[in-house]
């Protein structure tokens, strides 16, 4: 019995040893790609020809976007048998709290979706690779919109490849404005008058978010831009938030809130759109996601959905918030970089790119000149139905701006965007009764403390 046991132990020991030897052999035979594989980045597959595997994380969770991105990635994989990209859906909610730890532990992706201020944060980890070569080649072929590239260009490099842009404009219900005999506003004065005239009983002239949220940050920033106060933080992190034009923008926003539903200070992204589609609010300031749901949710024809650029203040400038979403490269493996270059070439080919951007028609806008003219973009059923509205958005995108990226690139902008200081400044007025001037002073102090 004892002898038998010893035999089993010896056999199991030998098997284990063989496993270790086999594993070591298979590591050595994969052209070094397994070192990265151990970090969760690449898995070489010994099927004769080596396949470069890439992981892409994106945070566009709605099913239609997931499906379209997968379609694009599958198309690329089919056209490139030596490369396999796996697209994994993540959440923006985890992007700040979990991704950095995963990346540092070697479990991050090779390609990571981003927005400008998120790039400044992830760059602190020292893993973001410059994409100058990729941008140079894509720019020569497709011509990027300057406003889409600018927020990713600093410290002598470009840190992400912009893939689609988002811009805000003033949406209006054509049926409600026509019934009241009001023209779509082009100035702040006209906007305020229209909002007031369209408010009565439980109908409101405009629906604005006023909670502590990114939604409020962004709509407020469109007012800062049109007030002429788009610079809030410079490239050397000097805070220039507290000025007369910023105060004017906050006062205007606060005035407009009188013509917005009473629970506006709990609104984020969805509520103004819901009020707008329900016909409870006649105007709203947002991006292009209004296109795809308008008819179904409002029961009104597409022609009732109007959009104009953000109204401008006296002495202000045309524009609104605009930012591009991009993709960061987090691997320095040469094989993977070559595969990534191929992927971007495929993605930006006009016949592919229009389809990619229309993962969310109207919300995602092309960032290249030929992408903006591609049949694959304009032939989408939603885009073709709202062609004139989309043209307004594309025009607005060329005049867009993003806080922290207008006067050099602030490396600390994430610390202003994260706690929503732009929105919190408004809360000082709406909840604590401060004047616009005092609230902006408060905001200046908070932002200074955050970036010091």
């Amino acid at each position: 019995m004892k002898k038998g046991s010893k035999g089993w132990v010896t056999l199991v020991g030998m098997l284990a040893a063989m496993q270790v030897v086999l594993a070591a052999c298979s590591s050595g035979g994969n052209n070094g790609t397994n070192a990265a594989a151990e970090n969760g980045n690449t898995t070489g597959v010994n099927t004769g020809a080596a396949v470069t595997e890439l992981t892409l994380w994106h945070m566009e969770e709605p099913p239609n976007r997931v499906a379209r991105f997968k379609e694009i990635v599958d198309g690329f994989n089919a056209a490139n048998p030596d490369i396999k990209i796996t697209a994994q859906v993540q959440s923006w909610g985890d992007a700040y709290s979990k991704f950095p730890a995963a990346i540092q532990a070697g479990n991050g992706p090779d390609l990571l979706f981003t927005i400008p201020d998120y790039t400044t944060l992830i760059k602190e980890l020292g893993v973001v690779q410059p994409v100058d070569d990729i941008i140079e080649s894509l720019n020569a072929a497709h011509k990027f919109q300057a406003s889409s590239l600018a927020p990713y260009q600093y410290e002598d490099h470009t840190w992400a490849v912009p893939v689609f842009g988002m811009v805000q404009a003033l949406w209006y219900r054509g049926d409600l404005l026509s019934a009241a005999g009001i023209q779509p506003p082009t100035t702040w004065d006209e906007l305020k008058s229209a909002a007031e005239a369209l408010t009565s009983g439980n109908k409101y002239g405009i629906a604005l978010p006023a909670s502590k949220s990114m939604a409020t940050d962004q709509v407020l920033y469109s007012f800062l831009v049109t007030a002429g106060a788009k610079n809030i933080l410079s490239g050397d992190n000097t805070v220039t938030f507290d000025n007369e034009k910023t105060v004017e923008a906050y006062q205007m926003y606060s005035d407009l809130l009188k013509f917005s539903p009473p629970d506006s200070n709990t609104y984020q992204w969805g509520e103004p759109q819901a009020q707008f589609n329900a016909g409870t609010a006649a105007m709203a300031i947002e991006k292009g996601q209004y296109l795809s749901t308008f008819e179904a949710e409002s029961g009104r024809p597409a022609s009732d959905l109007g959009v104009v650029p953000m109204p401008v203040a006296d002495g202000g400038e045309a524009g609104s918030i605009y930012y591009s979403n991009g993709i960061m490269v987090l691997t320095d493996d040469a094989n993977k970089k070559a595969a990534i270059t191929k992927f971007f070439e495929y993605l930006f080919e006009p016949e592919t790119y229009g389809s990619f951007v229309n993962a969310e028609p109207g919300l995602f806008l092309p960032v290249t000149e030929d992408g903006g003219q591609a049949d694959s973009f304009w032939n989408d059923p939603v885009i073709s139905k709202y062609k004139s509205q989309v043209e307004v958005l594309i025009e607005a995108a060329s005049k867009g701006a993003l806080f922290g990226f207008t006067d050099g690139v602030s490396s600390k902008i994430g610390k202003v965007a994260g706690p929503n200081y732009i929105a919190q400044t408004l809360e000082q007025m709406t909840s604590k009764g401060l004047s616009a001037a005092d609230a902006v002073k408060w905001g200046q102090a908070q932002i200074e403390a955050a970036v010091k």
Binding site: Y96, S97, K98, F99, P100, A101, I103, Q104, L121, E124, L125, N202, S211, K212, S213, P261, P262, D263, N265, T266, Q275, T280, G414, K415, G418, P419, N420, Q424, E427, Q428, T430, S431, K432, A450
Partner: protein
């Protein structure tokens, strides 16, 4: 047995080997992360994953001198007291009502626990619907009864948001307390009440002289556990108000979350957590020392 007898060292090791897995588990899941939080509290780490530089006690100094931290403590105290009082009164009242054998009591005991079993996220969603300032049923009722001429926005109101959040949390958790109190009531012998009846004690006197003292150990346990539990509630508040408006519902846990994951100040958030944990440990020690029911 033969081996154990011959080798006493192995015999002594066996108990340690048996408890080793759970000790290792606790070390890995509690002490290792706790050690990391303590370590981070001495660094100016920005956000998870980045490396900060050593700043000594600076984070602690900033935390204790931060008006926002003490404001959050004020909110936390109001939150804990509000919840404790409301939940205790409600739980005792319901438990006393249901402590009589009747068909209604049996039915109510089952259905009473529904708020408790509803996930917090669902609680948040449907109370937001009820109190919604545009189309919530609460406003509909107020306006139908001419009690308000325009919708009120309780969750988004600087004055009302904290009381309303306390109300919702009380609604969510009082069944748990009621069940515990009911369990305590069932342990009191009927003979004591019969003796009190014979002695001429009325219902009120029976409650104060028999029921309440008998529930001492349960009240004490609920006092400690409930206070800590209530203090550490984050999800309900964050779902309903996000700590707003303008910080009106920013209790200490919400404040720490905002420091860590909105302002990206993991170092400061760690120091704030350690200080807060210290205060809670002091509270528990004092409560246990002076609040433990005395054995007669």
């Amino acid at each position: 047995m033969e081996v154990l007898g011959k080798n006493n060292v192995l015999g002594k090791l066996v108990p340690y080997l048996l408890v080793a897995p759970i000790v290792i588990w606790i070390a890995v899941t509690i002490f290792f992360p706790l050690f990391n939080v303590i370590k981070e509290s001495f660094y100016n780490t920005g956000f998870v994953g980045t490396k900060g530089s050593y700043v000594g006690l600076d984070n602690y100094k900033e935390a204790v001198t931060s008006p926002a931290y003490w404001e959050a403590w004020t909110k936390s105290l109001v939150w804990v007291l509000g919840n404790s009082i409301a939940q205790t009164l409600l739980a005792f009242a319901i438990a006393l009502l249901l402590n009589k054998p009747s068909r209604f009591a049996n039915w109510a005991r089952t259905w009473m626990i529904i708020p408790w079993v509803i996930p917090t996220i669902v609680v948040g969603i449907f109370w937001q619907w009820i109190f919604n300032g545009s189309y919530g049923i609460f406003n509909h009722v107020l306006m139908s009864l001419n009690l308000a001429d325009k919708p009120v926005n309780l969750i988004g109101d600087n004055t009302w948001s904290l009381p309303v959040t306390i109300f919702i949390n009380t609604w969510h958790w009082f069944p748990f307390m009621a069940v515990i109190v009911l369990a305590g009531l069932s342990t009191i012998s009927h003979e004591i009440y019969e003796a009190a009846d014979v002695d001429g004690a009325n219902k009120w006197q029976q409650f104060w002289k028999v029921t309440f003292p008998s529930l001492g150990p349960i009240t004490f346990a609920l006092g400690v556990v409930g206070t800590l539990w209530s203090f550490n509630i984050f999800d309900t508040i964050y779902i309903l108000t996000g700590g707003g408006p303008a910080g009106a519902t920013t209790t200490v846990p919400v404040f720490i979350y905002q420091q860590a994951f909105e302002s990206f100040q993991i170092g400061k958030a760690s120091a704030t957590s350690i200080i807060t944990a210290f205060f809670l440990i002091v509270f528990v020690s004092v409560f246990i020392k002076y609040g433990t029911p005395k054995e007669d």
